[in-house]
Amino acid sequence: MNIENNVIANKEPLVRITKRAGISNYKAWAIRLIAVVFSLVVCALVIVAITGENPINVYLGIIAGAVGKTRRFWVTIRETMILLVIAIGLTPAFKMKFWNIGAEGQLLMGGLATAAMMIYFGDTLPNWLLLVLIFAVSSLAGIIWAVIPAFFKAYFNTNETLFTLMLNYVAIQIINFCIVYWENPAGSNTVGIINSTTQNGWLPKIFGLTYGWNVIIVLTITLIMFIYMKYGKHGYEIAVVGESHNTARYAGIDVKKVIIRTMILSGAICGLAGAIIVSGGSHTISISTGGGRGFTAIIVAWMSKFNPWAMIIVSAFLVFMQQGSIQIATQYGLNANASDIITGIILFFLIGCEFFINYKMEFHKKKREVQ
């Protein structure tokens, strides 16, 4: 049985991929920074290929679009806050390894509840009471949309990914239905700006800032969630359940209870995000009220490794690029998808660079000849 003669010393593989034992924070962030730079270069190349403009001008256009005027600057802040609060809302669910991809639906339901409150109680209730009611009802709507899949997950171990995803479409259809009822003006197939003259149910100005309340509410939620997750017993339970249900049972944690309780929290924040969008920004409701931010926030949460402070930076950067590319799209006569392309390129690099943070490549060094 001398088959071994058939195997002559094979060549070593050219590239070997090995897992890194560990990487310093400094190095990891350096890799991410390089990825950002690369993504900007590729974005520039794409834009130049489409518009034929000088890339420097294009980037100046992006900056001008995002923060060039006071109004644009505050729109960027407003959008950042919305993306941030959704990501914060998703954090406890993801920490528990409950793959909630239904934030879009949860925030749409929150937004729908807000619009309903504004339409039906806008003329009868004082503004402060109406706002309190809006927050309560929008949270409740988000909770309902989140607790349904949580209940089925806890008691029947259904797949939460499919369940939450499908509920997004249900939410969209409900909104379509309501738009028919609330159409204003008739035949426009939109709800229009709600209470545009009375501004009832709109988040008021604070310190003379239009979006002041948005910032205060979102940063407060961020801080509370940070403490809840890091120092609270609930946060600890969520982390244990996320690691292993067996460990949780061993520790005497009621896994079902934690799943449902955490999704109530997650859904409430996402529902609240809907209220902040409608009451604190758009003042209308449509199926594009979510604008895919329920999905973008998933990426924000993961890229930040669930660190709330990193989430602020990541969401600010993404929104900055989005707002900027909306500007250059109009400037150079491109359609709205240009901003999606830019966001896509940036995300590709940012997510792709995680590979280089976790693994390193070893290239084949020429070995000395034997014999």
């Binding site: 088959i3 034992a21 560990g22 017993k233």
Partner: protein
């Protein structure tokens, strides 16, 4: 190059066995994983018709080295020679073509197929499968080496030892001349081990080269011709087994003199703590895993639980700890204050809320006992996180506890804020055991407490268990090494197929007796009730 090999051989083997040609020779093999050097300049050789033991503690790089030979890892440096020719092994396929066959600790067999089907699985064959001819070939092989195997038996009907036989025959059928066995006796009873060794000796006679990876010193002495010792990835030396003793091997393995005695005291002031009355339970698939199990455990003694892997040990401990529901039967707890609590319908949280201090070190350390992605401090509070004030967790006490455990049990960690999953197996176990003992339990249940631990740590753990026993704790210890159970415990309960095969006095029983009971063929043993 050849000269160099010859010189090397003389140098390392010291002139023994030089006449025989080396089937395998590793020269200065180094393998790194990031910063960790798993194998640092390791050299070894096996001749034709020789059994070589590779001895080393967990984490000494034995398995990495064998994975290099079987093509799973690629070495960073060093050369490999097979039958005197230098080779590069890039994949398990290459390794097989060189006639190297590896029998892994975890079997890779298809349960619904027969032994013969598993043996030919993946082999190129003719369009028409002639099962009769294949069966005849397999029979011929098994007869030659003295295996006990029915080729048409389905795998799911087989015992662990039979499955292992299939794995061995599988590599032989494919023409392997060099067999590597990774901890082959870990799952076998003493009788099965003896049978395996007989077969291995027959194979040696037929000119096969065999490498067995082990950390059991007795087996090294019993079976192998030579033994190569590794310590922390480094090559320590190779000696002839005839010149070695248990103590000299242990010393080579650890690098310092070790005492291999367990200081067992006689139980005093026995107090009945736990009584299990006829419990029966089923697993998720609805199969009965425990049948009418009855026994008691007393404070001041160590009750050992022996049995072939999967005989219901896990289910028994989890039922007591309130992690599994039982179909019938009762579990009673007698508190030191004289109260009797029926804990069989309670969940883990209820038992904790009653202030019954039932410590439990489960078999699955990172899947149940600890949270790998948390640091030592957070893991210390896993079972007591509710003690914090109001809404917050208290991290001060767990931190003190973590520091105390690290200090007392000599845990090798950069700090108490290191993630538990980054620790080695032995240190993980120390953290878990340290936490459970710190809860000053009245009942302490441990499953395989020294699995994966080095000798010194193992003896630290045995002493800790003895310490608990002397404090009056009822210790229940599930173990796999019968020698140790016989030395450590006061009584041993043997489980076979979910039933109690017998409860024996550890001071008066022999290993073989336990082995027979484990296989369910014992006469029930003599029950020894206090």
């Amino acid at each position: 190059m050849r000269n160099c090999v010859q010189q090397f051989r003389k140098m390392h083997v010291g002139g023994f066995f030089v006449k025989q040609e080396n089937a395998i020779e590793l020269m200065n093999v180094t393998k790194r994983f990031g910063e960790v050097i798993a194998n640092d300049n390791v050299s070894l050789s096996v001749s034709k018709g020789e059994i070589l033991s590779i001895l080393g503690e967990n984490g000494s790089g034995k398995t990495t080295l064998m994975n290099i030979l079987s093509g799973i890892y690629f070495p960073d440096e060093g050369q490999i020679f097979v039958n005197g020719r230098e080779v590069t092994i890039r994949s398990p396929k290459d390794s097989f073509a060189l006639g190297i066959g590896m029998i892994h600790q975890h079997f890779k067999l298809v349960g619904v197929l027969t032994a013969a089907e598993n043996i030919i699985l993946g082999l190129p064959g003719k369009e028409l499968l002639k099962m009769n001819q294949i069966t005849a070939e397999i029979d011929q092989l098994t007869k030659k080496y003295g295996f006990d195997l029915n080729p048409s038996q389905k795998i799911y009907n087989m015992s662990v030892s039979q499955k292992q036989t299939v794995e061995i025959v599988k590599v032989l059928y494919r023409g392997a001349d060099i067999l590597i066995l990774d901890e082959p006796t870990a799952v076998l009873t003493p009788q099965e081990t003896k049978k395996l060794f007989d077969v291995l000796r027959n194979m040696r006679k037929a000119g096969k080269s065999i490498i067995i990876i082990t950390h059991k010193l007795n087996e090294v002495l019993e079976l192998s011709d030579r033994v190569t010792v590794l310590r922390k990835g480094k090559y320590v030396g190779t000696i002839n087994t005839a010149e070695a003793t248990v103590n000299s091997l242990a010393e080579m393995m650890v690098g310092a003199k070790v005492s291999l005695d367990i200081d067992r005291t006689d139980p005093v002031k026995l107090q009945k703590r736990l009584e299990v009355l006829g419990i029966t339970s089923k697993n998720e698939e609805g199969l009965t895993v425990l049948k009418e199990v009855s026994f008691h455990a007393s404070g001041g003694e160590i009750l050992g639980i022996a049995g072939i892997a999967g005989s219901g040990q896990k289910d028994l401990l989890e039922s007591i700890a309130g992690l599994q529901t039982i179909e019938s039967g009762e579990i009673l707890y007698y508190s030191p204050e004289g109260n009797t609590e029926k804990i069989s319908d309670m969940k883990a949280a209820d038992i904790r809320d009653l202030h019954i201090s039932l410590a439990f070190v489960p078999e699955d350390r990172l899947g149940m006992g600890l949270v790998g992605s948390m640091d030592l401090i957070d893991n210390m509070m896993l079972r007591s996180y509710k003690n914090g004030k109001y809404f917050y967790t208290d991290r001060k006490k767990p931190k003190d506890l973590a520091l105390a455990v690290v200090d007392k049990l000599d845990v090798d960690t950069p700090g108490v804020d290191t993630l538990v999953r980054k620790l080695s197996g032995g240190n993980v176990q120390k953290v878990l055991l340290g936490r459970e003992i710190a809860s000053s339990p009245t009942v302490l249940m441990v499953a395989y407490p020294v699995r994966g631990l080095d000798i010194n740590s193992s003896y630290t753990i045995y002493n800790l268990l003895n310490e608990q026993k002397e404090k009056g704790v009822a210790v229940i210890c599930v173990g796999e090494d019968l020698d140790v159970l016989l030395e450590l415990c006061d009584r041993i309960l043997v489980l076979a197929g979910g039933k109690v095969a017998g409860i024996v006095d550890a001071r008066k029983s022999a290993k073989e007796e336990l082995g027979l009971m484990m296989m369910g063929s014992g006469k029930g043993g003599h029950t020894n009730e206090h």
